[in-house]
C-alpha cells in the first residue's frame, strides 16, 4: 500500500479504536489486517452486514464469514464539518459515505471516503482500501475506483479524482 490516504495515526487524543476482541467483530477486524473485506454468511448462503445473532433473511443461526470483492458505489454521503470526536476535528471537512457493493446489491458499508467533497454524486465507483492504523488495527476506507468493473485480480492503486 502506498502513502496512507488518511492521517489517522499519531494523534492526540487517540483514535477511537473499537474493541477488537468483540466476538461478533473479531474475524472482521482480523480480515482487515489481511486487507480482506469479510461479511457474514449463514448456513444457507445468505450474506449480511452488520453481524447479527441470526441471519436477517432466514433466521439461520449458523454464521460463517466470507470475503467479498471491495468494489462498490456511493449510495449516500455527508460531509462532516463539525464533530464532537476530538480525533476527527483536525480532519474536517471529511466525507463519510455509505457504499453498496457492486457484486452484492443491498450489502452496504459505512466508511470515510477519500473523495473531493465538491464532486460527490450517488453512483460514484469506489473501492475499499485498508489503512493500518496501529499494529493490531486496520480500518477499511474507500477511494475512487476508475478501473473497469471486472473479475480479474488487480492491485488497489489509488486513482485521483
Amino acid at each position: 500500500m502506498s502513502d496512507p490516504p488518511f492521517p489517522v495515526t499519531d494523534r492526540d487524543p487517540p483514535f477511537p479504536v473499537p474493541d477488537l476482541a468483540d466476538p461478533d467483530f473479531a474475524p472482521f477486524w482480523q480480515g482487515c489486517r489481511q486487507e480482506r473485506l469479510l461479511v457474514r454468511r449463514c448456513g444457507r448462503g445468505h450474506l449480511s452486514w452488520p453481524p447479527r445473532p441470526a441471519c436477517p433473511r432466514c433466521q439461520d443461526l449458523s454464521q460463517d464469514w466470507q470475503q467479498v470483492d471491495g468494489a462498490g458505489w456511493l449510495y449516500s454521503w455527508t460531509v462532516v464539518h463539525r464533530t464532537p470526536l476530538p480525533a476527527f476535528q483536525p480532519l474536517t471537512p471529511y466525507v463519510v459515505g455509505v457504499v453498496e457493493l457492486t457484486a452484492h446489491p443491498g450489502l452496504r458499508f459505512l466508511g470515510r471516503c477519500q473523495c473531493d467533497p465538491r464532486q460527490l454524486r450517488i453512483g460514484t465507483p469506489l473501492r475499499v482500501t485498508f489503512e493500518h492504523v496501529t499494529a493490531e488495527f486496520s480500518l477499511p476506507l474507500w477511494q475512487y475506483d476508475n478501473e473497469p468493473q471486472d473479475n480479474e485480480p488487480r492491485d488497489n492503486e489509488p486513482r485521483g479524482a
Binding site: 461478533d24 449516500s76 455527508t78 462532516v80 464539518h81 463539525r82 455509505v98 450489502l107 480500518l139
Partner: protein
C-alpha cells in the same frame, strides 16, 4: 382510551441554573395544577430525557411510594410513545392517572453527543461508525436527506422553507427560544455547515428545561378506572383518539436498511388513522418531530400528508407556514421553540385544541396529529382532538 387533562413546562433556555430533578418537579407541578389534580392522587409516572428518574418525581412532587412507573425506549420517539404506554398503564388498571415528564439540561449539561451514547445499538456505533468519525444525529440523518435529494430531487430551498416557517411561528410564541429573533433566508443560507447538507438552521436547538403532560382515562372509556381518573377529569380534557408506535426495518442500523425512507412512522401512521377513524386530510394541523428540516418533509410523506417525493414541493408551497394548508409546528418546534424531546409538540397540540395558543391560535383546530421520531427512525403518531362528525373520506380536503 385516555385524554390529556393537564400540561405544563418550565422556561426554555440554554442555562437553566437548576438541576434536572428540580426542572422536572416544576413542570410536573404545572401540569398537575393545570389538571386540577392533587399530587397525592397521582399514581403513575413516566420520566423521560435520560437523566430524570421516578425517585426524583416522588421527592419533588411528594408522590406515593406505591406510584407505578414505566419507561418507553429511549430516543426522540419516547414522548409520543409515552402516550401509548400511559394508555396501556391506564387500560390495564395499573394507574388511574399518569404524569409524563421530560426534563434535562440539554445545552448546559448533557448534550446530544453524550445522549446518543444512551441509545440502543452501541455495538454498531463503536465498532463501525465512530472509527469513521460518524457519531451524532446530524451526521446520521444528513445521509438520509442526501439520499432523498438524489432520488426525489428534494432541494435546499425546500429545507429552508421548513426552517423559515418554524421561525415565523416562533415569533408569535413568547416561550420560544428564538422568539424575537426572526430568521431570514440569507441568514439560513450563510450559516455554518454542520454535516452537509445540514447547516446550522437545519438543526434543532439544544435546550435546558422540562415539559409535562398529565393523562387520565377518557370519560366512560373504563368504568373500572381508578379514582384518580374521575378526580382529574375536567371539561378541558383533550381526547387521545389513537396513538401508535413502530420501529423501522433494521431498527438499529441504517446502512443496510433496504429502503431508507421506510421508517417507524410508515407503519405507525396508517394504524393510528385506522384506529381513530380519520384520514390525513381530516387533520387541521400537524406537530412533526423536527430534529432536522428534512425530517419534517420525510415524516409528512410517510404519515400520508403527501406522496413520497412530494414533501419538498409541499413545504416550499408555504403549506406548513402560518395560513398554509397544513400548519406544522405552530409553536416553532424543536427548530425554534426548543428541544423538549417532542413533548412540547404534544403540549402545543393540546393548547391549540383548547383554543389557548394566543397569537398563534389556529382558526380551526379540532383534530391534530403529533409525530415522534428518534433513534434511527423509530416513529409514532398520536391523533388528538374530536373526531369529525362526517364519515372520513380519504383524499378529500376538509
Amino acid at each position: 382510551m385516555i385524554s390529556i387533562q393537564g400540561v405544563g413546562e418550565t422556561a426554555y433556555s440554554r442555562r437553566s441554573g437548576r438541576s434536572v430533578p428540580d426542572l422536572g418537579a416544576q413542570a410536573g407541578r404545572a401540569a398537575l395544577a393545570d389538571a386540577g389534580l392533587a399530587a397525592e392522587q397521582l399514581d403513575g409516572v413516566i420520566p423521560l430525557g435520560g437523566a430524570l428518574f421516578t425517585e426524583d418525581l416522588i421527592a419533588g412532587l411528594g408522590l406515593s411510594s406505591r406510584v407505578f412507573d414505566a419507561s418507553p425506549a429511549p430516543g426522540g420517539n419516547a414522548a409520543v410513545s409515552a402516550l401509548r404506554l400511559a394508555d396501556s398503564m391506564i387500560d390495564s388498571g395499573s394507574a388511574g392517572s399518569v404524569l409524563i415528564v421530560l426534563a434535562r439540561n440539554g445545552y448546559s449539561g448533557q448534550r446530544i453527543d453524550s445522549r446518543a451514547r444512551l441509545l440502543p445499538g452501541q455495538q454498531f456505533r463503536t465498532q463501525l461508525e465512530h472509527p469513521h468519525g460518524w457519531s451524532v444525529p446530524a451526521q446520521w440523518y444528513a445521509m438520509i436527506c442526501r439520499r432523498h435529494m438524489a432520488e426525489y430531487g428534494t432541494t435546499k430551498a425546500q429545507l429552508a422553507a421548513v426552517a423559515l416557517s418554524a421561525y415565523q411561528y416562533a415569533q408569535a410564541n413568547p416561550r420560544a427560544m428564538r422568539h424575537g429573533r426572526p430568521l431570514t433566508r440569507r441568514q439560513y443560507d450563510e450559516a455554518d455547515m454542520i454535516a452537509d447538507p445540514y447547516q446550522r438552521y437545519d438543526c434543532c436547538l439544544e435546550t435546558d428545561g422540562a415539559a409535562a403532560v398529565l393523562v387520565t382515562a377518557r370519560p366512560g372509556s373504563r368504568p373500572g378506572a381508578r379514582p384518580g381518573a374521575a378526580a382529574g377529569e375536567r371539561r378541558r380534557g383533550v381526547p387521545v383518539l389513537a396513538v401508535e408506535t413502530a420501529r423501522p426495518p433494521s431498527p438499529d442500523d441504517l446502512t443496510n436498511r433496504a429502503d431508507w425512507h421506510h421508517i417507524g412512522l410508515t407503519d405507525a401512521a396508517p394504524a393510528a388513522y385506522e384506529r381513530a377513524g380519520v384520514a390525513p386530510s381530516d387533520l387541521d394541523a400537524a406537530m412533526i418531530y423536527d430534529c432536522f428540516t428534512f425530517e419534517v418533509i420525510h415524516q409528512l410523506e410517510e404519515a400520508g400528508f403527501c406522496p413520497r417525493g412530494a414533501g419538498g414541493p409541499f413545504a416550499a408551497s408555504g403549506a406548513l407556514a402560518p395560513g398554509g394548508a397544513l400548519p406544522v409546528n405552530t409553536h416553532g418546534g424543536l427548530l425554534a421553540e426548543g428541544h423538549l424531546g417532542g413533548l412540547n409538540h404534544v403540549i402545543e397540540a393540546v393548547r391549540q385544541l383548547r383554543g389557548e395558543a394566543g397569537d398563534r391560535q389556529l382558526a380551526r383546530a379540532a383534530l391534530i396529529g403529533v409525530t415522534g421520531w428518534g433513534d434511527w427512525g423509530d416513529g409514532s403518531m398520536a391523533i388528538l382532538g374530536q373526531p369529525p362528525a362526517r364519515p372520513p373520506a380519504r383524499g378529500v380536503s376538509a
